[in-house]
């Protein structure tokens, strides 16, 4: 499938779920973000099941996160994570300096634009980790200059 098909599908999905609140005043934009994350969650979950077939199951958190950084990331976003940092207490920082889903976002775009585009990937990351048996406590995403993006994943630590 050509990449542009996926790009447009994602854009359309985001448009649909983010801009409904115009017609429907009682949904807040955080609800919309939740919907997008829910979509991402299912994608991430199913995708991990497919790309981890026939591979040993990760034994601990670090293993699982490494799997996400390599196998899952390349299946989902076409490359590996650029930097992985961890404090060895359940906080992992994943940095991708050229995140595919942001490659059409201009560098000085309004933060909301990038944020919108990052809801589905955030959900995917949650779903992926859940499928590997280490559901994250929280996943936060930060993007200062697209397409450079940083995900902060907390697993098993109180938020």
């Amino acid at each position: 499938v050509a990449e542009i098909c996926l790009d447009l599908l994602l854009a359309e999905t985001e448009r649909h779920f983010m801009h409904r609140d115009v017609q429907n005043a009682n949904t807040s934009s955080s609800d919309d973000a939740k919907h997008l994350q829910a979509i991402g969650y299912r994608v991430g979950y199913a995708l991990v099941e497919r790309c981890s077939r026939g591979k040993p199951r990760p034994t601990d958190k670090l293993d699982a996160v490494k799997f996400v950084c390599k196998d899952f990331w390349s299946a989902a976003f076409g490359k590996n994570v650029d930097h992985l940092r961890t404090n060895h207490r359940g906080v992992f920082v994943l940095q991708d300096t050229s995140f595919r889903n942001l490659r059409h976002v201009p560098q000085h775009a309004n933060n909301d634009v990038a944020n919108e585009r990052l809801q589905i990937p955030t959900g995917m990351l949650q779903g992926a980790l859940a499928a590997l048996g280490v559901p994250p406590t929280s996943v936060e995403v930060e993007c200062n200059s697209p397409p450079d993006v940083t995900f902060t994943v907390k697993i098993g630590v109180a938020p």
Binding site: V1, C5, L6, L9, H16, I39, R42, L47, A76
Partner: protein, 194 residues
């Protein structure tokens, strides 16, 4: 059925190698999106309509990219446009082989056929998909109809596209029926006053 006019087939025309993403990722994303729509809307008809509308918006943007990259694709009349959609569009964008057939005889205007069908056997968006009970009315591929409609609308052809056969519903192949309603390029200039 086998109206495969070899003469004006865009045989040599194809898009340059496109960036590819895995079918799985695409299929899963679409599936998850449809599921969320089902969750949000109350009736299946609304979901079908929304899928079609989303497809149309995708199509209207896709066509720019398609025409910019395509070499030697002709879309001057309905026949060549439908041919391009099926042979070049389906192959390079979805990676499936589609063929056109069942041309209607001649249209009222006498300018070639005004309806045709696109047949294809593989459909990447329905991999791993099974329609559960109670959702028999869901037209899962409606997005494709929308895409074709939206794309052709951008080049001045107003068409209706409906799913005739759907492998998800047990048919032996997929068939989309295109009907040309109006070819706007021929109706210019509009009259300003009535």
């Amino acid at each position: 059925m086998s109206a495969r006019g070899a003469s004006n087939a865009p045989r040599g025309s194809q898009l340059p190698a496109q960036e590819k993403v895995s079918n799985e990722l695409f299929t899963l994303t679409y599936g998850a999106m449809v599921r969320q729509l089902l969750h949000d809307f109350e009736t299946v008809e609304e979901v079908n309509a929304e899928l079609d509308a989303m497809g149309a918006r995708i199509g209207s943007r896709l066509v720019d990219d398609f025409l910019a990259n395509a070499q030697g694709v002709r879309c001057a009349d309905f026949k060549s446009a439908a041919d391009s959609v099926a042979r070049v569009g389906f192959r390079s964008l979805l990676g499936v082989t589609a063929r056109v057939g069942a041309w209607s005889e001649t249209s009222d205007a006498g300018s070639g056929p005004s309806a045709c069908s696109i047949y294809f056997e593989e459909n990447p968006i329905t991999d791993f998909v099974e329609l559960p009970r109670g959702l028999e009315e869901l037209s899962y591929c409606n997005v494709l109809c929308g895409v074709i409609r939206g794309a052709l609308e951008q080049i001045g052809m107003h068409v209706t596209v409906v799913v005739v056969k759907d492998m998800l519903k047990g048919a032996d192949g997929n068939e989309l029926r295109l009907t040309l309603k109006e070819h706007a390029a021929e109706t210019y200039p509009f009259k300003d006053d009535d």
